[in-house]
Amino acid sequence: MTALELRGVSKTYGEGAAVVQALSGVSLSVEPGAMVAVMGPSGSGKSTLLTIAGSLEEPTSGEVLIDGAPLSRMSRNGKARLRRRSIGYVFQDFNLLPGLTAAENVALPLELDGLIARKARAAGLRALEDLGLAERAGQYPDQLSGGERQRVAIARAVVGHRNLLLADEPSGALDSVNGEAVMRLVHEACKRGVAAVVVTHDAQLASWADRVVFLRDGRIVDQTAPPAGPESLLTTPGQSQ
């Protein structure tokens, strides 16, 4: 079943002469285990696409389906439950709560969903271990480096059994080595079956995706072909001296 499907999604803000068309007839399917990157300049509608896919905003027209279920037929509570259980978000500025430790930040979505604290913490700790952060579990966000904070944010986004990861410029202001580490983690999550949508203007991040779609003025104008294997890069014989 498709993990995320957008069918002819449009979004307008404002009315009359001040109307802004943020998205126009966007259709996109993401299968479980796939990573799709959405590239486009500022103002092309990337972030709107992500907030609508994550049920944080409603489309003006069109339909969003998560695991085959249309969001338009869900109650507010149903959508809130979906966000707590199935969808993980990663933002550019990490959005960790400063008063909670790394482990508590990661466990928070599970606790909000009603899991008892002990079990939530154990699951949070496991997620941190998976990302090589076990020894930082008791630290507060301001005691962590930028790269570590973003790894905590990713642990929080994939903790439990989330099957859709939505990331908006997930490498934020990190340097390229840390940015790559972030993308490796997203990629690992996809190998475990998570579907991921990564919105970015950074081609190096986007190139981790199985498929890159290009957004311009609220429309998908193009997308990459399924990637050829890297072998094709290594066949050029010796170059100039």
Partner: protein, 194 residues
């Protein structure tokens, strides 16, 4: 890629055979730049002629002939490492030309031309990233070579993005498209090499 200096670098570690040099060259560059045997021996012959390496004197020209670096070779290598490559004058970039030409050809949407190239470059970057993902975690030489390629392609995409944005703004402001004379002037001023 200077094969000449790469061979000097390998010999700076100690004497080596021709075949060994070829294998080590390919291993250190993550096998991204394959070398043929002929290229290795021609280069070694020239290095010997220039007094930068010495052979063990055997008449055997085959893979078992040994080579070592001379003090002249060591000086040459040290100087080369610190000599900046020639990046001072812009090369005649085919992609820049295409975008400039697309501006003037009737019926061609320059933004579509830009997007075709952007997609192609991203696809290429995806392939390099796959390679990095599969292999480079364990092979530092390969990781460095792949990074260099990714940054190079990335810079071209950034230029395309900037061009896209600049042309949109120019169209909104009603600016005329550039005339070829402006290019000629720029070329003369920059001393562009062909």
């Amino acid at each position: 890629m200077s094969v000449r200096h790469a061979l000097l670098a390998l010999l700076s570690e100690g004497p080596k055979y021709g075949l060994q040099l070829r294998e080590e060259f390919e291993a250190r560059t993550g096998e991204v730049w394959p070398l043929n045997v002929g290229q290795v021996y021609t280069t070694l012959q020239r290095l010997e002629r220039d007094g930068l390496v010495e052979s063990d004197g055997s008449t055997d020209e085959g893979p078992q002939k040994g080579f070592r670096i001379t003090s002249g070779g060591e000086e040459e290598l040290a100087a080369w490492l610190r000599t900046p490559p020639d990046l001072s004058s812009p090369p005649r970039d085919e992609l820049v030309m295409k975008v400039l030409v697309a501006l003037r050809v009737p019926g061609v949407d320059v933004h579509d031309v830009i997007q075709v190239h952007r997609r192609y470059l991203v696809e290429l970057m995806q392939q390099w990233t796959r390679l990095k993902e599969d292999e480079a975690e364990f092979d530092l030489g390969l990781a460095l070579v792949v990074d260099a390629e990714l940054f190079r392609l990335d810079s071209v995409i950034r230029w395309l993005d900037a061009a896209d944005g600049r042309l949109k703004r120019a169209a909104a402001d009603g600016l005329p498209v550039p005339v070829p004379a402006a290019l000629t002037r720029l070329r003369r001023r920059a001393g562009v090499r062909s």
